[in-house]
Symmetry: C2
Subunit: 198 residues, 2 copies
């Protein structure tokens, strides 16, 4: 073993992070060298604090350090418009846009038979249970992938009996995109989802 | 603040790592989610253990968890052939090649007036002090950059009075490289360092 044991172990830990191989992990270990002991202590504690204190919101499944997330617990949010997303990452993305004032429902993944992810592995039952007579709309905001479409269809079917308005995000040309370089599927979707002008 | 506090803090910690911005740091935090608590505890401890136990070898400056690194303390290594490198990273690179049986001297950087790195900030004095009548050769193995050349020249000058054989790595065409795509400087160096065939 050419590395000291402590080096090797930390290297292996960094390699648990997505997209990090030997080279990057090595660079990370060297970076720890140049941090102060206080800073590394803090880093070490923050890892544990994150793992111990972060849980899923009991209403929507979004990550939080409380029983209810900061969105579900906010009075100003419209509790009757529910945006269904794949994961907490999507919630942050939507929140950064600042456009949406409803609440979310985090599925925790997408249905994918090939990866053995079935509907019962996802946070779908609790979505259906949340819907009541006051619910105005469920917006399905999943990726336009095979898994996204499959999950969307599954949810739509379940929601039918609930008699609630269901919508999905529009597909189309991304802002700043160039039509010349768009794939045929996106073009097709952009035509399907075209918006009539007044 | 859209992130929970624990999320935000860990995010900032990951951003201390080289080349890691908001997006990657966010992905890393999510990755921590999918690790077991035991694993995260271990990661957290390994950070501290690394920081607390890893120090510089008192002979060569290479990282180690002992007083002397595993190279300096190995009887089979030729203590009289010293390879001068920029950092411990280089030591590992050389060790991986398995070609070199001497010992190292880790400078801990390169002279760089623009970054205010002066000779006295580097592990140079201890290199000179190490050289004695038994020393057979000092191999300078620094990057062929302006800073590398500057540092190399500085060390060469100091070593002159020591009357020891000094060499540097050869410059030239990298194995697997294609001459067509080499920069003119490398071509020039490859001609300068050409090897006469018997």
């Amino acid at each position: 073993m050419i590395y000291p044991e402590e080096f090797e172990k930390l290297l292996e830990d960094f390699k648990l992070l997505p997209g990090i191989g030997d080279k990057s992990a090595e660079r990370f270990v060297y970076a720890i060298d140049s941090l102060s002991l206080d800073k590394v202590n803090e880093f070490s504690e923050n890892l544990i604090k994150y793992k111990e204190n972060i849980k899923k919101c009991k209403i929507c499944g979004h990550i939080t350090n409380q029983d209810e997330c900061n969105i579900c617990s906010k009075d100003s949010r419209d509790k009757n418009t529910i945006c269904v997303v794949e994961d907490s990452k999507s919630v942050f993305t939507f929140e950064k846009s600042g456009k949406f004032n409803g609440v979310y429902h985090v599925l925790g993944g997408l249905i994918s038979p090939i990866d053995e992810v079935n509907p019962e592995d996802l946070n779908i039952r609790s979505l259906i249970d949340r819907i009541n007579d006051d619910t105005k709309e469920v917006i399905i905001a999943l990726n336009p992938s095979v898994e996204g479409e499959m999950t969307s269809l599954y949810i739509q079917k379940l929601l039918k009996e609930k008699n609630v308005k269901v919508s999905r995000l529009s597909y189309g040309i991304p802002m700043g995109g160039d039509i010349e370089y768009l794939d045929p599927l996106t073009i097709m979707r952009a035509i399907d989802d075209r918006k009539y002008l007044e």
